[in-house]
Symmetry: C4
Subunit: 239 residues, 4 copies
């Protein structure tokens, strides 16, 4: 029996590909203005192994090359790489351990979503694009301090009670999940956009709620067309 | 008698030109920050045929080359192209079928306009640039689910009762029309800008309404200078 | 006696230089996000002549080369150029005729400033950078329709009653003046920035007013260091 | 005994390095949208000397090369350079004189932070990233006019009563300090971001306060991992 943290040749190939992918997606965090300075990170589960590829600690985004990415096991212990993993790696690892269907995790403090998180208020589902992507409101997770499994547990428990792929961690920021890292990034982009639209809409009155049956129809249709079960389509764009 | 969905040599030349144009205008959607991820699309009617050029489904904006654009008939059936048309193509097609004067359609979920749409509240005409471009308030269309003609019908009925080239679809987003795709894009850019200015103005008090006679004079002057009847000028910029 | 609209060799040299300058400053309008689409324009008075260099009508910003800029007299009549002048040229010309100290004019519909203009509300002077640049509140001019001298008269009368180099035209947008076009552009950039800061500050309470004596001291110091009488320094940046 | 404003060979090497660094950081002010026009400046203390490297007065950011940077003593008197120092140099110098642990100072009028400053209202600590970076609320300093030590004194007194590295000067703007110029820039970036998030959060209700014990734990952990006492880590990014 093979140790699931062994680097077999197949796993090595997957790691190479995911280092490219995770490095590229950090640039996307900046492109979509989800982070300032370096306050965000992306990880990807390594298929066929109990490993993940994640951002190293203390490296400016301009230096986030594929080679700089590190590999840890799902307890957050460094397996490959010249630097320690991001201090958020423990939270990512916890999600992968508990949610086998998740292939990618993104963490941001994106501006409008974090403003909702500071009030510990879920974002209500008043937009068809929210129904499509999140299937309802975006929920709020507990307040938790960094340093142990608290944040990871809060993410997993909150997502378990929702169809949403995004969770607002109280007074902190956003975590999103996806079948791969690109899908998690898309959820992070959409989460910030709907956080902004609903914020603005609420400033001048009350957005009209969507009928729950309409939310269900939109979510089911969208997940069939673009979702995990559509061939090769987990991160396919909405048109 | 020729089938209006035949690709005659003249039509083939027009399709080549419009594929270039429609691809270019998708980049403009990003440039003017009207979309995040890939949540927007542009189409153009093919002159002399019952056809349109439209975005394919499931292609990231970075890969939206002219060759990637697809051609459908005005029932949304694929005529040319390697991929299915955008899932919004049915709505675009409906507009072309019912509004012969329309040569271009743009769909976005641009941020401020969608915030008005979530409240199902028209944008009041309190700016000279709104009078110029839209001739009055920007109206709200019905809530409609994607999948059949509902959205297209809502767009056409709402625009028929207004001088506006833009409509806010309830809890959804924006559709704009123009004599060509460039003109529809201009309307989408101006719709988001006036949605933002009027939103901000309302946050701190009540914008002063424009006298309807002034709105009429501005709209008539602007349409004469820049509008459909001015030679070669449908999408000429405001100075 | 020479006609002040004659193109002497000295004037031709100045026109060449100003076409470069005015073309460059249109790109700055976009850089500082003062305009969407092409809804803004810059002009410069030709020293030693009753002429101005101004944006042509109907040219996208990407094509605004120095050669595309046109020259009119101070009644707005075309003197040099292949296209008609911007439809706002009459307003610019009126300012140059009535205000001999003005060497540059900028017109925008910049977002936050236009939001104040839609309420016809002056921007109160609650920031040291407003005192520096504008010497007090930014005033509101009358509602005026395009097409004759009405806008120009409104600008001149409003600026005459204020130390401000910027005026918010009611329900319309912003005009700024300067000793040259670069100084007018700086005023347009600063006007939008203070419009935004004071807007935001007012959203959550009442900004503290500045003592008028402090406003006077800041304005006088700044104009001496950076203002018209400082050698070669009309558009020198604030540090 | 050497005069601490002498340019020894070691000091000359440090100055060369810091001119590069300070020039680069001015470009970062624009990149992170902390300034419009040229309304911001960065300085760095020269190690081993009573000197600082600072922005010259009246130079557009596009021309802010390393060579253009000037050197002054800690009374703000020019020691090296072709131009006068920024008119804010006196305030920077005062900070270096009174706060020996400070190696870099940044001054901006960043938009959201200045909106709080205009109300003379501290930014409450309701985000984990505020606890990390600032250890509590961001305080407000007194209203002070430019021209003497008033601003510098206000900065020093306000920072002395707080763990924050940022201070909002009343009706004016932001000053931040750090162990070097890069750390001060990071504080300026984070100050504007938290100013924006808390502003937005407050617009729709009351952000939940953080427990002071949690603030302490976050601040202490973060300063140990990324702070002055961590090896080579003063400006290390948050992950």
């Amino acid at each position: 029996m093979t140790d699931k943290t062994d680097i077999t040749p197949e796993v090595a190939v997957a790691i190479d590909r995911l280092r490219q992918e995770v490095a590229r997606l950090h640039a996307e965090l900046l492109r979509w203005r989800l982070v300032v300075w370096t306050a965000g990170n992306v990880s990807a589960r390594v298929p066929g192994a109990d490993l993940m590829v994640v951002k190293p600690s203390g490296v400016p985004y301009d230096e986030l090359t594929p080679e700089a990415m590190v590999v840890t096991d799902l307890d957050g212990r460094l397996v490959l790489g010249d630097r320690p993993a991001s201090s958020d790696a423990l939270s990512h690892a916890h999600v992968y351990r508990l949610m086998p269907e998740v292939g990618g995790v993104v963490h941001t403090h994106s501006t409008y979503a974090t403003a909702w998180a500071a009030r510990r208020e879920p974002i209500p589902c008043v937009l068809t694009m929210m129904a499509d992507e999140f299937g309802g409101a975006i929920p709020v997770g507990p307040f938790a301090l960094i340093g142990d499994d608290s944040i990871g547990r809060g993410i997993v428990q909150t997502l378990a009670a929702s169809r949403s792929k995004a969770v607002l961690m109280a007074n902190h920021g956003v975590f999103t999940v996806g079948t791969d890292a690109q899908a998690a990034l898309k959820a992070a982009v959409m989460c910030e956009e709907v956080a902004k639209v609903v914020h603005l809409s609420r400033q001048l009155g009350d957005p009209k709620p969507l009928d729950p049956a309409a939310v269900d129809r939109l979510f089911e249709r969208y997940q069939n067309v673009y979702g995990p079960s559509a061939p090769g389509a987990t991160a396919r764009p909405a048109d």
